[in-house]
């Protein structure tokens, strides 16, 4: 199944999803498509004026361009997902998209899709970390069972 993760660039979450045989929907692969496109020349991410305009699908014109530009990339990943995992309170190193308003909108959009969503808090101890990994594995395995 296709699993949206939040933060959408978390390598740890993406790796856990892949290990259980699912497809993680991650930011890196979307950015790779952009930066390897030879027709676009807008470094560093090859995002152009068109992207924040595409983001109007997710946020109104009065919303800052940085939020709309991010949503132009994350929004379709959320739309495409069969299930999702949200990790709140994670430090920068775990995965980060830089903008608190985009975080709020992404999490809201995931929740309102009515797909299976696993809500998690960033662990603060070894015990919590083990429990968290078990929870994630159980969630991902249950999706497989439901899926048949």
């Amino acid at each position: 199944m296709k699993i949206a993760i939040f933060p959408p660039n978390s390598l740890i979450l993406a790796d856990l999803v892949e290990r259980r045989g699912h497809e993680p929907l991650v930011l890196q692969s979307e950015i790779r498509k952009k930066v390897t496109s030879s027709e676009i020349d807008s470094p560093p991410l090859n995002i152009t004026e068109e992207d924040p305009i595409k983001g109007l699908k997710y946020a109104a014109i009065e919303v800052p361009s940085g939020v709309r530009g991010r949503m132009a990339i994350f929004g379709p990943l959320i739309d495409e997902a069969d299930a999702a995992m949200i990790m709140e309170d994670a430090p920068f190193g775990f995965g980060c998209i830089g903008c608190a308003r985009t975080n709020e909108l992404c999490m809201f959009n995931i929740r309102k899709r009515n797909i299976p969503v696993l809500e998690l808090k960033y662990p603060t101890s070894k015990e919590e970390t083990i429990e968290l990994v078990n929870k994630i594995n159980e969630f991902l395995d249950s999706l497989e069972e439901k899926n048949g």
Binding site: D41, S42, P43, P44, L45, I47, T48, E49, E50, D51, P52, I53, E62, V63, P64, S65, G66, V67, R68, G69, R70, F92, G93, C96, I97, G98, C99, A100, R101
Partner: protein
């Protein structure tokens, strides 16, 4: 090469990073990103004390701290955040203040949208580059010798002749032919002074026509209007230290510049409709049958609340004016309402984009309309508004002042 440190949030996801770099390169500058690793972000964030929700904003804090603490090398700083981001707007100003208070680096701020193009950033990057390159010149607070400043604006050409910190001659005429107008302006400014053009020790030019006139006259200084106007305004207002805002409600468009110790750090320009410009007041005075010079005193006698003039559009504004007069509104009330209409539109459309700092130095031809100056002050909560003598000549005065440090003759 001038190194401009970029402290920003959202430029990559808005697709404007390339435009910023292009604008800097055009003026011989290079954009550099200050160093900040993960540990330093937490450390700097803790030290600065602003609880920012966005990690991009926290990174801005760390980059600003890195410059202040000397961990990153830069000649100037460009601070930018997304337009309409409240957290970004708060930090843009706080970081600007933080850097200005703790370093001697020039700072320019900007709020961008996905539509921001390099040419909109040109004047800011040019100002940053010239502030760095001409730092000692811009520090000049006194004019010396015999110098001339020419401001070749889109609407009018202004010329001043200065000698030993005094304005001794002026020329002012509508711009129709850039070079011919400058020649007439120079002649007018020299008239009655006993000097001829060859006596002038230095000529400085600014405004839209600066390159053409500068080349024609072989000027000693050709400089963009942002730094020149700031310098001219604080010099004439005798407010060369500390913060101030320079407001120029022009005939066709409006400019607002915020300054710190006479050096500009933010700028907004535009005018959605002529209803928010001097043109509307010109038409108002014609309709009231008074000369534009009489409109200001007339407005001061009126009560703007007694006439309804609040349209954003110049066409509907004139309709409102005619309706108010037909309904028996007095000329002073209508004149006052016209001044308030312009002041309120400038406030709503432009001043909200910038952090207005006291005192506000009002300049340009419209600053001579007392009713408008009063309306601007009241609209901004009775802010202290200074209209210096020769307020319509700030660009020319700024040029004459700065070029006096460059005089070669």
């Amino acid at each position: 090469m001038v190194k401009i440190a970029q402290i920003s949030c959202g430029t990559d996801y808005s697709g404007v990073q390339k435009e910023i770099e292009k604008a800097a390169e055009t003026f011989g500058a290079e954009i550099v990103i200050p160093e900040a690793d993960l540990d330093y972000i937490d450390e700097a964030y803790g030290k600065f004390g602003f609880n920012a929700a966005s990690s991009g904003i926290r990174l801005m804090i760390a980059r600003a701290m890195s410059i202040v603490e000397g961990k990153s090398d830069a000649d100037a700083v460009f601070i930018a955040t997304c337009f309409r981001c409240a957290e970004g707007a708060l930090l843009r100003n706080e970081l600007r203040r933080f850097i200005q208070q703790n370093t001697n680096l020039p700072v320019v701020t900007y709020s961008f949208t996905e539509r921001t193009k390099a040419d909109e950033l040109f004047i800011r990057m040019e100002a940053l580059s010239t502030i760095v390159a001409r730092k000692s010149l811009l520090a000049r607070e006194k004019q010396e010798g015999l110098t001339m400043g020419i401001d070749s604006g889109s609407t009018t050409t202004k010329v001043v002749l200065m000698e030993d910190n005094k304005i001794i001659g002026t020329g002012w005429l509508p711009t129709t032919d850039v070079i011919e107008n400058a020649k007439v302006g120079i002649k007018d400014a020299l008239e009655g002074t006993g000097y001829k053009q060859s006596d002038i020790e230095g000529i400085g030019v600014t405004g839209y026509g600066r390159l053409t006139i500068g080349k024609y006259l072989n000027a000693d200084l050709i400089q963009e209007e942002l730094s020149v106007n700031s310098k001219g305004a604080v010099y004439l207002a005798d407010h060369q230290r500390g913060e101030a805002t320079v407001l120029d409600i022009g005939g066709m468009d409006n400019k607002v510049i915020t300054v710190n110790d006479g050096i500009p750090d933010n700028f907004t320009m535009g005018g959605i409709c002529a209803g928010a410009s001097g043109r509307f007041l010109e038409i108002t005075s014609r309709r009231l049958g008074v000369d534009i010079s009489e409109l200001g005193p007339l407005a001061l006698k009126g009560d703007h609340k007694k006439a309804l003039l609040n349209s954003y559009c110049i066409v509907f504004g004139i309709q409102d004016l005619v309706t108010s007069l037909a309904a028996g509104g007095s000329k002073p009330d209508v004149a006052s309402a016209a001044c308030y209409s312009v002041a309120e539109q400038v406030y709503e459309q432009q001043l909200q984009e910038i952090d207005v700092r006291e005192p506000l130095i009002q300049v340009g031809g419209t600053s001579l309309i007392e009713g408008l100056v009063d309306a601007v002050s009241k609209t901004l909560g009775n802010i202290d508004v200074i209209v210096p003598e020769y307020s319509q000549y700030i660009g020319a005065v700024g040029s004459a002042l700065i070029v006096s440090g460059l005089s070669t003759k």
